[in-house]
Symmetry: C2
Subunit: 132 residues, 2 copies
DNA sequence: ATAATTATGATAATAGTTACTGTTTTCGAA
DNA sequence: TTCGAAAACAGTAACTATTATCATAATTAT
């Protein structure tokens, strides 16, 4: 899989590189479009998949029907707020023992673990009842 | 949310109740249809959501673009095979401490945790290179 | 039995994503 | 520095999973 440079991909990367809010393809699209008005949505999708397939991004499926992307590729977990939908980075809560246990139990091989914690985030707890 | 009996919902439940393979709406549809040929796909979706919203099913988003349903509602984790796509039940690998830690770190409230282990399942490890 | 409520089948609509196509850009080699 | 193959692009069509609509039918409380 040999990639060639493109300013579109660069712009996508520049946008997402330091984000911690796990944007969707559409969010990336509408933001990148501010500086590059005729980039196409297909290009955004294509490049996000490409960046994922080359290990620069991770995709998150939290259950809201949209794929979110995460430029932080070191192992960590996520908190998903059921109220505001925010996805917040957490430290890695997994253990090596659990992985080994899973492998022993299934006879398979684990190469990744993803954990999602669902609930109300800090600010939604504070505002409980005031907003939704 | 008051439910009325329907033989369609009953048939859907009868099909999925003891399944451990986490079928999708479409799988439920094509199976229930064998005995109830003119049940509609919309009815299947509506009832799966209803069963989920009333706590009889859980939905799984493993990243394959389709929602899977799980009739086992006690806390447990899942193994997702990257090769054959199978989703295999695992024991709960989470800890109370991790949940408390997440709550402390975020100031939020956790009501659920979902962990997915990805890799090759036992039989795909055995057949590595022979099938895909 | 009746009326209110809920569910249904059939179908249309939506949303997110992927595929196609003809043109443009990139980049290694001549 | 040009040339040509490979890769990427914009624009758009197509696809898939899911949800919404609506007129009719089944269920259930009175």
């Amino acid at each position: 899989m040999s990639l060639k440079y493109s300013k579109q991909r660069q712009a996508i990367w520049d946008f997402i590189e330091h984000r911690t809010d796990h944007p969707t393809a559409d969010t990336v699209y509408s933001n990148v479009r501010k500086n590059m008005p005729n980039i196409s949505l297909g290009t955004v999708y294509r490049n996000l998949v490409l960046l994922k397939d080359t290990g620069r991004l991770k995709a998150l499926d939290v259950g809201d029907g949209v794929v979110h992307f995460d430029p932080c590729i070191t192992p960590h977990d996520h908190f998903v707020c059921r109220c505001c939908g925010r996805i917040i980075d957490l430290p890695d809560t997994g253990t090596q023992e659990a992985v080994l246990g899973v492998q022993a139990a299934t006879g398979g091989r684990v190469d990744e673990r993803r954990s999602y914690y669902y609930g109300l985030c800090g600010s939604c707890v504070e505002n409980r009842g005031l907003m939704n």
